[in-house]
């Protein structure tokens, strides 16, 4: 079996708002192998977040195809895409996107229940991996932003996905917290072998990756 986890073919995306077409991605061809730590860098508006959302099956491309773990996204319906996302992908967002009404623990437990898993030691393991066991019963509003992002990472890795997609995960954090979070990604990558796909405009953050993809104006400029 190939270790190719993600492959895109002539991926395009054009947004349509009020009859105005805004092309964002143009013929993006790229590959991510299983176990890689890849960073996508580029200036704001270059299309890197859009690329991540398409790869994470949150957005549909206007053209081209994505193959994730051997499955062509073009062949999947909405339910199939949700299943792939549920089983093989974990997301970490710049704004954390935790459910504000439940505790950190329950944020992770909800994700597990959505997957149909029983909530058992896995949640505790994920919390331990991000060093948040003690504050797991607090609601997000009572946690610092660094702690919230750690809960978000625990939620993303609890089901041991094939890939974690992180969109500017340090964008809202101070440098100390940012470093902690990036170390956490490195640790997860090394210890659990989870593929990391990191979107960032920070060179410091990108340097944690094994490989950096540079984007500008909706196109891949260079793969380092």
């Amino acid at each position: 079996m190939s270790d190719l986890l993600i492959k895109t073919e002539k991926l395009c995306k054009t947004f349509h708002h009020d009859g105005i077409k805004t092309p964002v991605l143009f013929d993006v061809d790229m590959q991510v192998r299983q176990g890689e730590f890849v960073a996508v860098m580029g200036p704001s508006g270059c299309g890197k977040s859009t690329l991540m959302h398409i790869l994470g099956l949150m957005l549909s491309p206007s053209g081209g195809d994505i193959i994730i773990d051997g499955c062509s996204a073009a062949d999947l319906n909405e339910a199939g895409r949700a299943k792939l996302r549920r089983e093989k992908i974990g997301f970490v967002f710049q704004r954390f996107n935790l459910l504000p009404t439940v505790s950190g623990y329950d944020n992770i437990a909800v994700a597990e229940r959505i997957r149909g898993n029983t909530v058992d030691g896995q949640v505790d393991n994920a919390l331990a991996a991000v060093d948040m066991t003690e504050k797991a019963r607090f609601k997000p509003g009572r946690l610092s932003i660094g702690q919230q992002q750690r809960i978000a990472i625990a939620r993303a890795i609890v089901h041991r996905p094939r890939i974690v997609m992180a969109d500017e995960p340090t964008g809202n954090l101070d440098s100390t917290n940012a470093e902690t979070i990036l170390e956490l990604f490195r640790q997860i990558h090394r210890e659990q072998g989870i593929t990391i796909f990191l979107i960032t405009h920070s060179l410091t953050a990108a340097q944690y990756a094994d490989r950096i993809i540079y984007m500008a104006d909706g196109r891949i400029q260079d793969i380092g």
């Binding site: 959302h53 994470g56 949150m58 957005l59 909405e78 339910a79 949700a82 299943k83 792939l84 996302r85 549920r86 089983e87 992908i89 997301f91 967002f93 704004r95 996107n97 935790l98 459910l99 504000p100 009404t101 439940v102 329950d106 909800v110 994700a111 229940r113 959505i114 997957r115 939620r155």
Partner: protein, 404 residues
Amino acid sequence: MLKLALANLTHRKIRSALSVLAVAIAITLLLVLVGLSRGTLNEVSNRMQSVQAEIIVRDKHFDLGSMSGGKLWEKEIADIVRIQIDDTPAVEHVMAVFLDRMKLAGLSQNVFGVHPEDFAFFAGSRRLIKGEIFSDVDSPSAALALAEAKSNRKIILDSASTTSEPLNYLPLIIDQRLAAASQLAVGDPVSYGDSPAKIVAVVETGVAGRVFAPINMLRGANGVAAQTAHMFFVKANPSLNTDQLQKLCEQIHSNIRRDATLVANYGQVIAENFRNLTIFMNLVSVIALVICFLFILVTIYTIVLERGKEIAILQSLGASRLRVLGQTVQESLIICSTGTVLGIILTFVVRYLIETLQPLMTIEVRISWILIAVLVGIGGGILSALYPGYIALSHDPVEALSFE
């Protein structure tokens, strides 16, 4: 996921409480409006059916709404009493009723003029709470003569009273609800037109009339001939079955050319007489139902649409559309079922308050309407969550996630 739904609701306590209250008000509105529109008519119908008789005989021109119109004569009682069904005497007793109206508790009330000895048939199992059954004079003319002898004014005298001095008032028996509404008690004087009257007894609620008076004195006061009656109640032979009772009705109609109706069908007859009112009541019920449903729809619609970001988070975690919709429906059902239960409780509170403050008003809360209210509450909860849930799902989740 129920935990998430409960957490979402308890996280926004005031908003959730207001939503529950909104649903409760809608359910209360539905039940009270329907109960009020149907209650009064059904209460009249139930009271009439409480008479210990099986058949009502009335002139075809007699209006059940105003309780006035065509007249009968007591001499026809003989024609009714002699009817035989299958060679068996079919009638045990016939009670004449002469009707008039008087103002009590600020409302025009029907006065049932009955023979004192017939009152037991009207009271049935209901007892006199206080006072005694009135007595009557022999005829209306006797009542008039006595009145004229006593005074220049039109005064009714009760010569048959057990007291040594004739009474110069019209004795009345009123029911408990009217007594409460009018703050009247036994011994209190009231006016019957220009003439004096007095409360002589209070009977338990549920008897056919709210006010009873001696039939001949009432006839005398109205200047009508003896034996005039507006309707008869016929107490049939207890051995008659339903078919034989129906035959008896037909026979009465054939013998004296008056409408004879089974007391059990009185509700149906009254509904036919009040066809326009029935249409109006049905319209009120439907409007209340629609308002209730829209109320719930708007309440839940607002809640679900505010969940855009949460729905997007669930989608990013891989939740299917069905699961997301299930989540919104779950929250909606919690609100609506709580609101429905509260609404039903509130309905009984409102009924108690209205019937205490306005004793003559009746709010009928039937199990069937409670079930409809529950269906509206639960159904409204499901439907009103599905549509906005579907709308929220059709939004771009990436855009929703980017909102603060």
